[in-house]
Amino acid sequence: MNSVSIQSEKFLDRESSLGVLLMLPGLILLAVFLAYPFFLGIWLSLTDTRIGMPGEFIGLWNYVDLLEDEIFHQTALNTMVYALVTVPFKAVMGLGLALILNNQIRFSNPIRAFIMLPWIVPTALSSLGWFMIFDPVFSPISWLMIEMGFIDSNINFLGDQLIAVTAICWVNIWRGIPFFGISILAGLQAVPPELHEQAAIDGANKFQRFINVTLPQIKGLLMITSLLSIIWTFADFQLIYVLTKGGPANQTHIFGTYAYQIGLFGTEIGMAAAITLYMFPILAFFSIILLRYMRKTA
């Protein structure tokens, strides 16, 4: 055995050097696909870069300017409403779904797989389906309600502020319920049956058992899924882009769609980067809570 192979064997025998070596592929991937775009985004947000034009460093001007942008104010408000309204609904309805699926029912496995469909189907595709359902002229919902005599003209699902916001929130909830449902179901199935049996012997009814036994057991799971869902919903794009592109009159814009509009249609990618980075402190806040909680429970 030559000296090179002996040295490399020694190198691999050392835990510290082997650890670095094993981490290296992941580190390179993170650096190329996460760290580089992130820091590039920060740099761009501090410049007046346009597509095809080198920008100059302008400090925090983009961020300050956005504070005076009425459309950005509306976008920020819309994003908050979109995330904070939908997540509680998803959590409660997902919990309900999980409780139903946790019972012994026939065909439970196919049903569970079927219920996952909204989560599995690509969002752009399912959003297109909803786009057709909400069609201002040919909506089957409007048609049915007119035929049944409840209304006399089509519902403007995506063209009236209140109805449009409700409609996109509904689609987001529809898409998100399976994630909560299946996650919570996994948690429910991990609750030891002895705890329920003991509580039942002590005279607790079903509701009391749910409050005092089930909920404490799945509390951590509920928190993690809710935080993840908030983060994903804040960073959403496809659903809104397919359904409304931020219209009517910017009433459904969220950070992602507004940044896309400014950056790729308006060519101001420096400003667009600043819009998306306004999400960063909010997402960082929720991520820190999530990570701290996960560490604590671990």
């Binding site: 095809g52 009425e70 909400f134 201002p136 003209s153 063209g159 219209g247 009159a249 400014i262 308006g266």
Partner: protein, 449 residues
């Protein structure tokens, strides 16, 4: 079409190009190049072509035949030139994204540009003044709207190829029932007030007018900008800074539109996109809408014994207190200057613009795509269907976004933020035209500061 504040190349309307060539020399050069291609059976200017791939990105065409021909022609060029050709056809809305990605990261050679995009990406396009003037000379000169909209600071950054124009399509029977005379002849000279009065009557008959005011780059902008111009307002003055948007005449006109929206339009239009009005019209839900000729083209191909085709006609945009306008300029086939195949891309465009190729693509659209050169104004194709004749009139009333300033990046930002369209949408939603106009004015001041 109104002229831009811009230097125009002079070879067609004047006598010489920027390089000092006469019209005759340009024609000779073009003929010589074409002759060289014919004699050699290939493309002598393409070096080591076998190893090259030409990436062409165009918009999708509403006329399916045009897309099929463009695709076949790209393949044909590839065979003749010995290069691999990829031709992609993208949704028009997504074209911006693709151009942006191509400019930043490369990978695109030839790109189809909407009007204004040649201004927006001026620093990233190859100067093709010589090739464009060759095409113009061969075709009897560019149409005036092309001369006014196809160049940037006196240079052609691509070869103009005309554009599909939008105007008012209507149901003859509905207009006649509403009391419009000579509706079957088309081309009525209406004011907006008269048009709205017809809308009111049609809505009473259960067939309102339809107009998209959603976030879509075609029909909403094509309708709202001309209405603004016809009402005596502009995004910005010719100094490119002074906002002339919130004028008393426009406030008056916008109030009229708000009332007309309730009385005569399908009020779900605030969520319509570029295809909603096509579908609504073709299914008999609306009596009139602003659109390209695609509605009529589709009605000609319906299996209804020609009923809808015979009942459809066109007229120009109605007049307002400040005149009649259309939002119109030429499209351009450009080459990105970061392309590694500029020589191949130029040869492709020169080849595609030869009459035997271009005219085939143009004629299949039956007038949907307006011609770029004067010789095609008298093409027999125009005689096939008199209902398409009105489209030839549109360029006379054409203005570009950003008028009376230049169609620069600020005009593009205003359009991409839908400021004018959203002013209309806000006005019809709230019923408060004044408040909507003040909002729009604040937004435009931020953009044109």
């Amino acid at each position: 079409m109104e002229k831009l504040n811009d230097n125009q190349p002079t070879s067609i309307s004047g006598e010489t190009t920027e390089k000092g060539m006469t019209r005759r020399q340009v024609i000779k050069t073009g003929a010589a190049a074409a002759g060289a291609v014919a004699l050699s059976g290939g493309f002598p200017y393409i070096s080591s072509a076998q190893n090259k791939t030409l990436n062409i990105v165009r918009g999708t065409y509403f006329i399916p035949g045009a897309q099929e021909i463009a695709k076949q022609q790209a393949e044909e060029f590839g065979k003749q030139a010995g290069v691999k050709v990829n031709a992609d056809f993208l949704n028009w809305t997504d074209l911006n994204t693709k151009i942006g990605a191509g400019i930043q990261a490369g990978g695109i050679d030839v790109i189809e540009l909407w009007p204004v995009q040649n201004h927006l990406y001026a620093n990233n396009l190859v100067d093709m003044t010589e090739e464009a003037e060759e095409v113009a000379a061969r075709g009897g000169g560019f149409e005036e709207y092309v001369l006014n909209s196809g160049h940037v600071n006196g240079r052609y950054l691509g070869i103009p190829h005309g554009n599909n124009a939008g105007t008012i399509a209507y149901r003859i029977s509905a207009f006649e029932k509403a009391g419009v005379k000579h509706a079957d002849k088309g081309g009525m000279d209406m004011t907006w007030d008269e048009y709205f009065a017809v809308a009111k009557e049609c809505k009473k008959m259960g067939m309102p007018f339809g107009q998209s005011l959603g976030h879509s780059l075609g029909d909403p902008i094509g309708f709202c900008y001309p209405y603004m111009w016809a009402s005596g307002a502009l995004e910005v003055g010719d100094d490119g800074k002074t906002i002339l948007f919130n004028t008393p005449t426009f406030e008056y006109a916008l109030n009229k539109f708000v009332q007309a929206w309730k009385d005569g339009y399908d009020e779900t239009g605030t969520s319509w996109d570029d295809s909603s009005n096509n579908r609504a019209y073709l299914s008999g839900k609306i009596a009139s809408t602003f659109n390209g000729a695609s509605i009529y083209y589709a009605s000609k191909r319906r299996d209804d014994g020609g009923k809808l085709m015979n009942d459809t006609h066109h007229m120009l945009m109605p007049k307002g207190t400040a005149g009649r306008y259309h939002e119109f300029g030429t499209q351009t086939m450009g080459i990105l200057n970061n392309s590694e195949n500029i020589d191949v891309a130029k040869e492709y465009l020169k080849w595609w613009f030869q009459p035997e190729n271009f005219d085939k693509w143009w004629r299949v659209q039956e007038g949907y795509q307006l011609h770029h050169v004067k010789n095609l104004a008298n093409d027999p194709m125009w005689k096939d269907d008199p209902k398409m004749g009105i489209f030839k009139e549109i360029p006379k009333y054409g203005r570009l976004r950003g008028f009376a300033g230049n169609p620069n990046e600020k005009a593009s930002l205003a359009a991409s933020k839908y400021i004018v369209v959203d002013t209309f949408a806000k006005a019809v939603q709230s019923g408060d035209a004044k408040d909507a106009l003040e909002w729009g004015e604040r937004q435009l001041k931020r953009i044109y500061r």
